[in-house]
């Protein structure tokens, strides 16, 4: 039944044409693609290409600017992160909040060029927050003189180091493997801007 504007009639007509089996069969018969083409690029190659382009763009944006794939090299984060482990760095982890104590983060070396991602990063755990002092006595970390509970440290150690003061925009980073000699273990404080993101898993 057409209404005053005639819109329903139009849509019904369109629906009829679209779902009319006779019309569909005739078209499908005349332009049925080869099965190999269907397997390789689908029934509608343009749509398939568009889907591939969107997928590639999504992958590039995701794995270049949001989740950076990394491979852990070295033993300084043992036993939490083993050598050669594959993981991802979430670059948006600190979009809404600041890094927290205990977070495992990636720290960049030199600042990469614009629209580029760092090739090499340090994987460390945040143990000191801005303005805090970090010291090591008898292998334990002390924050502002208070013993820090570190359940992730499994190996006993004998690290001794006087307090180090973090600046107002600095965090103190250390690895979980404290069985390494103090001098061989790369640790210390750095500015917030060096934190690339938080490790995903």
């Amino acid at each position: 039944m057409p209404d005053a504007t005639g819109k329903i009639v139009c849509s019904q007509l369109w629906a009829e044409l679209r779902f009319n089996p006779v019309v569909q069969d005739t078209n499908a018969f005349s332009t049925r693609p080869h099965w190999l083409q269907v397997v390789l690029i689908g029934r509608r190659p343009v749509a398939t290409l568009a889907r591939i382009a969107v997928l590639v763009a999504l992958c590039v944006v995701t794995f270049k600017f949001v989740l950076l794939p990394i491979r852990v090299e070295g033993i300084s984060m043992e036993p939490t992160y083993h050598d050669r482990r594959i993981d991802c760095i979430n670059r948006l982890a600190y979009w809404r909040h600041e890094p927290q104590r205990g977070d495992v983060v990636a720290i960049r070396f030199s600042d990469p060029p614009p629209f580029s991602t760092p090739h090499a990063m340090l994987l460390k755990r945040i143990i000191g927050l801005p303005g805090e002092s970090v010291a090591f006595h008898g292998g334990h970390a002390y924050i502002n003189g208070q013993l820090l509970d570190e359940p992730y440290v499994k190996n006993p150690c004998d690290w001794e180091h006087p307090p180090v003061q973090c600046g107002p925009d600095e965090y103190y980073f250390a690895g979980d493997n404290r069985s390494m000699p103090f001098e061989d273990h790369y640790k210390g404080h750095a500015k917030r801007e060096r934190i690339v993101g938080k490790v995903l898993l």
Partner: protein
């Protein structure tokens, strides 16, 4: 149609002209970053490189530094040290090149900043070095100062940067 084809031709000529300009008169940042890439190639030693090749590489390496260049490093395992002048750098480089089986040097994440006078530039980069058959590698952040001397961009100061203080 004629106007359109003329416009396209004009745009193509403009693009070609711009490309030629950048080739003939590259901006200092590109030149300095190019020097860094050349330095990495010169500092890389292949296992098959003989004594003559290594000596030639040392000479080539020295040509990247100014006469009064300073290398200042503070690296775990090597300690803190400073080298002054081409002769001292040549001595250390020759010793190092002779003693390694192979050496792979790469500079990554390099950015160049040209000074207010276009005669000086500072490069911040990350050096990745692996020696011999050892699968382990060393990574060190560097700051390199360049000066344009007699038309050539030469390194006047190379120093290590402590990523974690």
């Amino acid at each position: 149609m004629k106007i359109a084809s003329r416009l396209v031709l004009l745009a193509a000529l403009g693009g070609l002209g711009f490309w030629l300009w950048t080739v003939l008169f590259p901006n200092p940042e590109k030149v300095v970053l190019g020097r860094i890439s050349q330095l990495a190639a010169v500092a890389t030693i292949r296992p098959g490189d003989g004594a003559i090749t290594r000596a030639a590489k040392v000479s080539k390496l020295i040509s990247f530094f100014s006469a009064d260049a300073v290398i200042s490093y503070d690296v775990a395992g090597l300690g803190a040290r400073s080298l002054s002048g081409r002769d001292e750098i040549r001595e250390i480089a020759a010793g190092g090149f002779a003693n390694v089986k192979s050496l792979a040097v790469r500079f990554q994440d390099a950015t160049a900043r040209v000074g207010a006078d276009p005669q000086s530039a500072t490069v911040a980069c990350t050096m990745r070095v692996s020696a011999g058959d050892d699968k382990d590698f060393g990574i060190q952040e560097l700051r390199i100062q360049f000066q344009k001397i007699d038309g050539d961009w030469l390194m006047t100061r190379l120093e290590t940067v402590k990523t974690l203080q």
